[in-house]
């Protein structure tokens, strides 16, 4: 346990009314408010009350669907969402310590806008921004943007052909992360000089074009935004398979993984390390956080019954890429401790029901983790990077200016 440091990193994944499709029908749910700022602020403040490291906010340009690749016409599940980066910005002044990690996709967005947006979130949150970079595979997005042709992964037969289509999207995402990182370093920290004798506001020798040329886009730079408090806000990638592991290994700070047992944790961590070797990662190794979908009740039987009730309402059993923990709080704590010993740095918990399971995490799970000495009882330090044990990186250009 010691080799991973004393604290388990702990984040929570916010999405709609929670990760069970019928969660919005719970008596404690607030389904009429999922498009209101107050709902999201309350969730963020709850997470902050639990001294959690970060919240992520899911996003996509397409409507939610019960089908993995196609829209549907179901009316009995949450449909609709707001821009995650703007929700995170709205949360920033309403919180003081919590890391804010919106999902921003790389497939149709402008890399320049994305880099500037994440740096700006870091400014308005005073060093608490992260970015969950996500590839979009829903083909409907192509028509929403209408400006480029992309092959539909779902239309290609599974196997090498589909893999090739998907790899193009991941390569583009890698370019998008690279552009953001270069933009974040395109201003040296001391570029603003306000030198009255020479009349100069900035030292332009400390501003650098990025001159990125890729297969899908080129970006000249420098950024319009000065280097932000964290310098390089943490980049997060959710990975299930090799292209995503390699995307994470090449450009991310945190990889979110979805193991389904202790042995699987070991296997997934090996895949992460293999991907790091394959891409020749430099710098600190990826932090590995496991995603768990959690449904908590005071005892395990109640939790199982609650899940069954939701499944009934939805008309089908809960399906998830991540392991589902249906347990009492102590049961979840045991899972977290065991899995962490198998080689994880932390967890991103996906509450099945919001706000109920977030409340349970904060009020029942976190205190037990604190008792075990594996969670801090108060926030220390100012930035998300600091909380995750990541140094503020030196600018790649530092000292290069005249």
């Amino acid at each position: 346990m010691e080799e991973h440091g004393p604290h388990i990193h702990l984040g929570v994944a916010l999405d709609g009314a929670g990760w069970h499709p019928a969660a919005w029908r719970e008596p404690t749910a607030r389904p009429g408010e999922v498009f209101d700022a107050s709902y999201w602020i309350d969730l963020a403040r709850t997470a902050e009350r639990g001294v959690l490291d970060y919240v992520t906010i899911e996003d996509a340009f397409t409507l939610q669907s019960a089908h993995p690749f196609r829209p549907d016409d179901r009316t009995d599940q949450v449909r609709g969402r707001l821009d995650a980066a703007l929700i995170a910005a709205r949360m920033a002044p309403a919180t003081a310590h919590l890391g804010l990690v919106p999902t921003i996709t790389t497939t149709h967005t402008e890399p320049f806008h994305v880099g500037v947006r994440v740096a700006s979130l870091d400014w308005v949150s005073r060093g608490r921004a992260g970015w969950r970079a996500q590839v979009q595979r829903q083909h409907d997005e192509v028509a929403q943007f209408g400006r480029r042709h992309l092959s539909d992964p779902a239309a290609a037969p599974p196997g090498p052909e589909r893999d090739a289509v998907v790899q193009v999207l991941f390569d583009e995402a890698a370019d998008g992360i690279e552009v953001a990182r270069r933009l974040w370093d395109s201003w040296e920290d001391d570029a603003e000089i306000r030198d009255r004798p020479t009349g100069r506001f900035v030292d332009r020798d400390r501003l650098h074009p990025i001159d990125f040329e890729g297969r899908h886009f080129s970006v000249r730079g420098p950024s319009i935004t000065p280097r932000s408090p964290q310098g390089q806000p943490p980049v997060v990638v959710l990975a299930h398979a090799r292209p995503a592991f390699e995307l994470a290994a090449g450009g991310a700070d945190i990889v979110l993984v979805t193991p389904h047992g202790e042995d699987d944790v070991r296997s997934v961590v090996r895949q992460v390390r293999a991907a790091e070797a394959a891409v020749g990662r430099t710098g600190p190794p990826l932090l590995v956080h496991a995603d768990l979908l959690v449904l908590l009740e005071p005892d395990a039987d109640l939790a199982v019954a609650a899940r069954a009730g939701l499944d009934d309402l939805d008309g089908q059993p809960l399906r998830s890429d991540a392991a589902v923990v249906t347990a009492d709080p102590a049961g979840l704590v045991e899972v977290l401790l065991r899995w962490r010993s198998a080689g994880l740095d932390g967890f991103r918990l996906r509450p099945a029901r919001l706000p109920a399971d977030l409340d349970a995490i904060v009020d029942e799970v976190v205190p037990r983790l604190e008792e075990r000495g594996v969670r801090p009882t108060a926030y220390e330090g100012q930035t998300l990077r600091g909380r995750l044990g990541l140094e503020r990186p030196a600018n790649r250009h530092a000292g290069a200016g005249a």
């Binding site: 700022a37 821009d83 929700i87 910005a89 028509a143 929403q144 943007f145 080129s218």
Partner: protein, 445 residues
């Protein structure tokens, strides 16, 4: 008849030479606390909205990043969403480029801001086809300049199609009936035109204003026509009384052909107000502002924009260059900012004449020609002038551009706003929840 009501907006001091960065009280242009202070001050003054400009590439001068003005700013929408947390009623306006943004994403972001701010979002749609800025974007700089308004107009229509894709009552959130959204296909939008062919289903339900308020700043004939058709606020350059009246009459006169009433479009020029305990005191403060805005180096750079050539060997306290501008140089010397001078030779001729007549140095001349004050005087005098401009149809109000961050509006709000309120031409409390209503604009069907 009741007097016309004045509308006021606050422009965050921008990346340009009017912003004074070299005084002890000049604060950060990037820390969120600066934005929060100015927005809260404007809200305390019951301003209609807070406004952010945009620049998607750092400006360059003679092939290098221009370093004499404030440089660097955050993403507008991010700042405005954060400001929604520290303000309650003031409108939040972002300048957003129609060339380097795609309609679906833009519509989604603006509608999200409208939800997150409880109906306070606005956007200033600007067009810019320049290849220089395009080097930062996927689409590059290939847009034919002749198509800029065509693209802008179509983008606005496409954005509106996305906003209209959810019925007002689409979200049922009916637990007992098991219906989150009402039957029917929520979010379906289609737009087909020469510039955009997009379709799909939007993720954002109808927002509180239905359509965030539409601001435009175009000044050409095509720009005015686009504004007459779509804009709800015009951010104009014509703040002086005479030019203001001409512009006002021209643009309001174009509205009828689109079935719109004069009050459906507010004309709000940018204005700089300098206050003092007396008229003379205000003049003295305006003069000090000029000295801080136009440094010796800044004066030379200003002149180089017209002359199109390196003038660094000239003494800012000496006479203007005796030779004529290089017309080709003018085209390429400055990049990333709007140029208003179309005929550099004539401008240079005029300036040289003026400098000779008044015995002005380069710096003194630049101060004279770049001075942007609209209102200089005591709070009472400034309030009177603003009121007169509005009552006599030179404007519907003003976007105030303070030269100082973040305290540049403190005095105006403390002294001029009460004068306007005493005159019965400015609100003492916000009367409505949404920006659209506070501006007196018609609801969106």
């Amino acid at each position: 008849m009741a007097p016309k009501q004045v509308h006021l907006a606050a422009h965050f001091p921008g990346v340009n030479s009017t912003t004074i960065w070299n005084r002890p009280e000049s604060g950060s242009q990037i820390d969120f606390s600066s934005f929060a202070h100015l927005a809260r001050t404007a809200e305390r003054g019951r301003f209609d909205f807070f406004f952010l400009a945009e620049g998607l590439r750092l400006r360059e001068h003679r092939g290098q990043i221009f370093d004499l003005d404030v440089v660097g700013r955050p993403d507008s929408l991010t700042v405005l969403s954060a400001l929604a947390a520290v303000t309650e009623r003031i409108g939040l306006a972002a300048t957003l480029n129609t060339t380097f943004n795609e309609p679906y994403e833009l519509a989604r972001q603006l509608a999200s801001l409208d939800h997150l701010s409880g109906g306070r979002a606005a956007w200033n749609a600007v067009t810019s086809p320049d290849a220089f800025t395009g080097e930062n974007f996927r689409r590059g700089g290939f847009l034919d300049p002749a198509l800029r308004y065509e693209r802008a107009q179509e983008l606005i229509e496409a954005v509106q199609a996305v906003w209209d894709s959810w019925a007002d009552d689409a979200v049922a959130a009916d637990r007992a009936g098991g219906r989150f959204v009402r039957p029917g296909t929520v979010g379906r939008f289609v737009h087909r035109g020469d510039q955009f062919a997009i379709e799909g289903r939007s993720t954002v339900p109808r927002s509180p204003q239905r359509h965030p308020v539409q601001i435009q700043a175009g000044d050409s004939d095509a720009g005015r026509e686009l504004a007459a058709r779509h804009a709800e606020v015009i951010f104009s350059r014509h703040a002086s009384y005479d030019a203001g009246q001409r512009f006002y009459a021209d643009v309001k006169g174009r509205l009828a052909r689109y079935g719109r009433r004069p009050e459906d479009l507010k004309i709000i020029p940018a204005a700089v107000a300098v206050l003092g305990d007396s008229a003379a005191d205000a003049q003295e403060r305006a003069h000090q502002n000029h000295l801080d805005q136009v440094s010796p180096q800044g004066a030379i750079a200003f002149l180089e924009q017209v002359w199109g050539t390196d003038l660094s060997a000239h003494d800012p306290d000496g006479p203007l260059p005796p030779f004529d501008p290089d017309p080709e140089g003018t085209e390429r010397i400055t990049r990333g900012r709007v140029r208003h001078e179309k005929d550099p030779a004539a401008v240079a001729q005029r300036w040289r004449q003026r400098a000779e007549e008044k015995q002005l140095s380069i710096r003194e001349l630049v101060i004279e020609v770049s001075a942007r004050e609209t209102f200089v005087g005591t709070a009472q005098q400034v309030a009177e002038q603003i009121d007169r401009h509005v009552q006599e149809d030179a404007a519907d109000g003003f976007i105030l551009v303070p030269p100082l961050t973040p305290h540049g509006l403190d005095e105006f709000v403390a002294t001029v706003v009460p004068e306007l309120q005493d005159r019965g031409v400015f609100r003492t409390e916000y009367e409505h929840e949404t920006l659209r209503e506070n501006l007196g604009l018609p609801p969106v069907a």
